[in-house]
Symmetry: C2
Subunit: 340 residues, 2 copies
Amino acid sequence: MTTRPKTLLAAVLAVAAILAPNLDLNAQTDPLASWNDGSAKKAIIEFVQVTTDRASPKFVAPEARIATFDQDGTLWVEQPVYTQVVYCLERVPAVVKAKPELRNVEPFRTVMSGDREAMAKLSMKDLEKILAATLSGMSVEQFATEVKDWLATARHSRFKRPYTDLVYQPMLEVMQYLRANGYKTYIVTGGGQDFVRVYSEQVYGVPPEHVVGTVGGTRWGYDKTGRPFLTKEPHLLLNDDNAGKPQGIHLMIGRRPNAAFGNSRGDREMLEYTGAGEGARLMMLVLHDDATREYAYGPAQGLPSTKIGVFPQTLYDEARKNGWIVISIKNDWKRIFPFE
Amino acid sequence: MTTRPKTLLAAVLAVAAILAPNLDLNAQTDPLASWNDGSAKKAIIEFVQVTTDRASPKFVAPEARIATFDQDGTLWVEQPVYTQVVYCLERVPAVVKAKPELRNVEPFRTVMSGDREAMAKLSMKDLEKILAATLSGMSVEQFATEVKDWLATARHSRFKRPYTDLVYQPMLEVMQYLRANGYKTYIVTGGGQDFVRVYSEQVYGVPPEHVVGTVGGTRWGYDKTGRPFLTKEPHLLLNDDNAGKPQGIHLMIGRRPNAAFGNSRGDREMLEYTGAGEGARLMMLVLHDDATREYAYGPAQGLPSTKIGVFPQTLYDEARKNGWIVISIKNDWKRIFPFE
């Protein structure tokens, strides 16, 4: 009985070949159609081939295939300011409406004034107060609703489109290509874990349990009907940036990634951690060098300076030294956004 | 072209039916063979049926199917003392060998004396010192090696077998049955996340990324060759017990489970959190009422008192009130261990 299905399968395939002689069961389209031919595209394809071919000495068992992706600047636009920071600033009116006593308290007064110049001068401490007021104090379900509602109407200042439209088509293709080859694709972001989980499945095909991000604690409690709920608290459990990225990967995944993608100083340790494993490794950094189609910032390679998503020359040099691949948006990406 | 494969499939199935008229493609064996027929077994099967049948109003999309399992006392034996505590105590000689100055310092001196009576009197503060000394200070890889080596030789005091043999066959069947029906099975344990991850895949078929447990921070650093590594730190990020269980589920999974399994006071909030969701829900508690084949402890239902895995009468009453199902080892389990 145990060999019967095999025999049956052989018969079935023979019949299929007779019935459909022109059906190409191996019909292939380019999984990385938005990439120009070049060393970056070639590296991705070679990595997948050597790690999924059972005959390859670099074969990776399907259950161990892990790829991690930074989000801001790697999967979607981070300029001129991180989307989540825009969210927090735009949530301030609702917070002030619920707590009118905040209207004349800084930094809420400045944000309510709408004075962009004054807002640009807010200190990190001011920003932390705004983040705490807009990202904690509500139930986890309420927060998800607030983010979802905002994403439905908010528009990017330059592209005049929903932020979730501003994802990089070539990176979506890499994620899909990796998943089609048995890789689990995780987002490992300095952004808020609960924030990104709201749209990660719909936008990237990444389920909430595959989102690792900066995350705070929660408080357990019961409502008047006795129903339990979790309230988002301001205290930080994990600052998922720099060394926090490999720490978050160990905490949430417990395996070392085989491939990691980033675009800034904050991704350095994640790429180092990924590269320190055995076998085939793929470490890539997106360099934003296309002001016409997206943005140009570094300051690596003489690109303009930025406060958001800094890619310093030292990181560029480390990439060269370690065999990490720098993706040039200008040269490597045929198309940037899905809507193009 | 798009309908061609369907036509082909129909032809192939017709051919298959002719070629193999006696091949029962739906041959079924009982997925819960170690369970006696009764309300517990029935509830598990009904839950799976209503949540996986697309025609059912309680259908759950495959990607949202989550089941969480406590470990100690739910998936494996926790008496007479938690396995991980045995591990920590038995690691003390190696720790003292590496740091001889600890030999005459309490509580290490008492543990080194081997005086079981004195060891039983160690305070919680003493125990914390032992846990810190044996569960932190080493790289995450070194820790995994230490646990693996210990598990290979350690034996349970009563059953004289490796601890990883002392898993409950009926619960393995539930996990396999749920996974075969598209559920992701997570372990949500008060035990150490890094500890359980060492053997979870081999013993339960649960990969490391599906283990949520009590977990401490890590420190990022580089060795002399420049290779980065993470060192286990003593400070706690999550105490995954009681309210910490739903907090850990939100942190690590980000979805509410559809089913949850526990056996003690520490699982109460996880079951409440699971039960507070919509649609079909399955909450189950293992009651250890079989001193002959395993152990008997409560104190619910007049069972003997215990310090390990307390199942109070209040929890039993809450289970009754909420429709949670209490599994009686004595009556519901035909067979307890895989080796029987």
